[in-house]
C-alpha cells in the first residue's frame, strides 16, 4: 500500500465524489427553498444519463463520431441538462405545486410516486437492457501522472463538475436570481411580500437542480459506462446522504458531502473491504448526525415559538 496506490484511490474517490456532489446539490437546493425531499431526483439523473446516451448514439456512437469529440461532449451535456431541467420543472408543476401548502408528508409520498413513475416509464421506453456509453477510449485512453493511471474522461468529469459548482456558487451568490433564491429559502412569505415572484424562483430552482443532475448522469455514463432504468435509485440515495452529511440546504455542504462520500467509498473498498463500503458510508452518516445534527456545514434551524 504505497503512495501511488493512495493517489489512485484519491482519483477514484474524487470522480465518484464529484458525481455525488452534483446530485446532492439538487437535493439541497430544493430542500433549502421548499423544505421538500425530492426523491424523484435520482430518476431525473437517470433520464439525464439516457439523454446523453441517445445524443452520443445519434452522433454515430463513440467509435464513429460524425462531429469532433468536443462538439459531441458539449451537445451531450447541453441536451442532458436541458432535458433534465425541463423534466424537473414539469415534475414541480404537476406533482408538487398543488401540494405546496399541504402537510409535508404529502409531497414526500408524491415524490416517491414520481420516482416509481419515472422508473417504470424508462423501463417501458428503453427496455430493461443495460446500455453502455462505451466511451473507454473516447478521449484517447489513459494518461500516467506520477505512476498513477488516470483516464482522460475522469479528468474531464472532475473538471466539469468543479466548474459547474463554481458557476452555481457565483449564480447563487452574485446574481439577482441568486439573491431571490436566498431570500425565498430564508422566508418564503416575507420574500413574496417583498415582491419576489416565488413561483418563478421555485421553477428556477428545480430547473437548476435538475440540470445539475442531468450533467451528473452524463458524467457517470462517461466514466462508468452503464446506464439502465434503475440507476437513479442507488445514486439518488448516495446523493441524498451526501446532502444530509454536508448539511441539507447548504450549497458548499452538498459539495463537501458528495466528495466525502465518494472518497469514503473508494478508500473503504481499497483499504478495508468492498464488502463493507456501503456500511462505512452510512456509518459516517450516522456519526455526523449524532455529533453534528445539522450536518457538517448546515445551520441550526431556529424556530420561534
Amino acid at each position: 500500500m504505497d503512495g501511488t496506490f493512495l493517489l489512485q484511490q484519491l482519483v477514484n474517490g474524487l470522480t465518484l465524489g464529484s458525481v455525488y456532489a452534483l446530485i446532492a446539490l439538487g437535493y439541497s437546493l430544493v430542500y433549502g427553498i421548499l423544505k421538500l425531499l425530492n426523491f424523484a431526483h435520482g430518476e431525473v439523473y437517470m433520464i439525464g444519463a439516457f439523454i446523453g446516451y441517445f445524443v452520443l448514439i445519434g452522433l454515430g456512437g463513440p467509435d464513429a463520431l460524425a462531429v469532433p469529440v468536443v462538439v459531441a461532449l458539449t451537445l451531450m451535456f447541453l441536451a442532458a441538462m436541458l432535458g433534465a431541467g425541463l423534466l424537473g420543472v414539469l415534475i414541480e408543476r404537476f406533482a408538487y405545486r398543488r401540494l405546496r401548502n399541504a402537510p409535508r408528508i404529502a409531497p414526500l409520498i408524491t415524490a416517491l410516486g414520481v420516482s416509481f413513475f419515472l422508473q417504470s416509464t424508462a423501463l417501458l421506453l428503453f427496455g430493461a437492457r443495460f446500455r453502455s456509453y462505451s466511451t473507454f477510449e473516447f478521449l484517447g485512453g489513459a494518461v500516467t501522472v506520477g505512476g498513477v493511471r488516470i483516464s482522460a474522461t475522469r479528468i474531464l468529469v472532475v473538471a466539469a463538475a468543479f466548474s459547474l459548482m463554481v458557476v452555481l456558487t457565483l449564480l447563487v451568490g452574485r446574481t439577482t436570481l441568486g439573491k431571490a433564491m436566498r431570500a425565498t429559502a430564508y422566508d418564503r412569505e416575507a420574500a413574496a411580500m417583498m415582491g419576489i415572484d416565488v413561483d418563478r424562483v421555485i421553477v428556477a430552482t428545480f430547473l437548476i437542480g435538475s440540470a445539475l443532475a442531468g450533467a451528473a448522469g452524463v458524467m457517470f455514463g462517461l466514466v462508468f459506462f452503464s446506464v439502465f432504468h434503475l440507476m437513479g435509485f442507488a445514486a439518488g440515495l448516495k446523493g441524498f446522504t451526501a446532502a444530509v452529511v454536508g448539511g441539507i440546504g447548504s450549497i458548499p455542504g452538498a459539495m463537501l458531502g458528495g466528495l466525502l462520500i465518494g472518497l469514503a467509498e473508494a478508500f473503504s473498498a481499497a483499504y478495508i473491504s468492498s464488502t463493507f463500503q456501503d456500511l462505512i458510508v452510512f456509518l459516517i452518516l450516522i456519526a455526523v448526525m449524532l455529533f453534528r445534527p445539522t450536518g457538517l456545514l448546515g445551520k441550526a434551524d431556529i424556530r420561534k415559538v
Binding site: 465518484l16 489513459a142 462508468f224 459506462f225 440515495l237 473508494a266 448526525m289
Partner: protein, 392 residues
Amino acid sequence: MKRAATLLGLVLVLGLSLVAAGCGGDDDDETTGDTTAATTGDDGGAAADCAGSIGIMAPITGDAASIGEEQLNFTKFAVSEYNEENGTSFALVEGDTQLDPAQASTVAQRFVSDDEILAVVGPAGSQEVSAVGPIFTREDLGFISGSATATDLTNGDFPTFHRVVPNDAAQGPTIGEFIAGELDAQTVFIVDDQTSYSTGLADSATESLEGEDVTVERESVSQDQSDFSALVSNVADADVVFLPWQLANKAQVFAQQLQEQGSDAVVFGSDGLFSADFTQEGSYVSSFAPDITAIDSSAELVEGYEAEYGEFTSTFGPPMYAAAQAALAAISAACEEGEPTREAVAEQIGEADQQDSILGDAISFDDNGDVEGARFYIFRVLGGGEYEPADS
C-alpha cells in the same frame, strides 16, 4: 436536534423501504394465453382436446429484467410453436418474481390456486426455487427451471422439481480446472456479488483451485455498486480474476476499469456473463447452456424467434424453451391417460424423453430431477463481442 433526528430516521426508513420496494412491489402481470391461438385442429388426437395452462416464473421486472424478458419471450415462443405443431391450445400465465424469493412465493401461491395451471416453468434463481419448492411439493405441481443451478436443489426435498441445465457441483470444478490448467494461473482473485448463488460458486471454485495449488484471494462487492475502480486496484496483480456474477454489464465495467488501471489480469466470468454486454476481449465465460446460434439444428428456431421478438443476447432464454416444451409434452402425455391431474403431469415430466432439443442434446431427467449428461460450456470472448468455444 429534533429536525436532524427526523432526517436521520427518514434516511434509514426510506433506504430500507425503497430497497424492499425494489425487490417486491408491483403486482404481477397476468396474461392468459395472449400468444396462444386457440386453434384446436380437426385432426388432433387425444392431445388436441387437452387444455390447460403452464405458469412461467421469471424476473420480468427489476434488476434482472433483461434476463427475464428473454426467458419470458422464449417461453411464449415455445408455447405458440407447440400449439401450432400439435393443434393444442395451451395457455401461458405470467408471474413476475423480480428474482426475489419472497415475491416468488406469492406468485407460487397464486399459481397453485389457479386450477388451470398444470405445470410451471421457472423460477430463474436458485434462492427462488428454495422458496417455492415446499409450496409446489405440497400440491404435486411439477416445475422446471431453465437457470437454477445450486447443487442442493435436487437433493430430494422437492420431488417435483426438474431443471434442464447442469448444477454447480460441475461448474466450480470445471472453471477451477480450466483456470489452473488451460490458463496456467498462479494467483486468482475471486470477487463474489454477495448472493448465495455467487458465494456458493466462489466457494466451490476456491476449493477446486486450491486443490491445484493456486493462490486464491477473496473479495465481495454489492451489485448496486457501479464503480469498482478502488477494488480493481487491489486485484490488478492477479493472473486471473474470477467474477461469479449475474449482471454482465457490471462485469464489463469491472473489466474496463482493470484495463484502465493498466492491469493485464484475465477476467473469467460465470454463466450470467454470457451476454452481448460483456465484450472484454481475451476474457472467458462459462455457461450452463450452449450458444444455440452455433447449433445447426436450432437455426430455424433462432430465426423464428428473432423474427418475432428481436435478437437475444444471453443464454438464459433457450433453456426456458426446452423447459416449456418438456412441460407441455408432459401435459399432453398425461392427457392420453385421461383427465390430466397435476400429479400425473409431474410424473410425466420425470419421464421426459425429448430428442433434439433446442439446446442440441436430448433431454431426459434422472431420479433427482437433474438433466442427464449436462455439462458446462466455456467460451472465449473475441474482439467485437464474438464468443468462441474454448473447451473441447
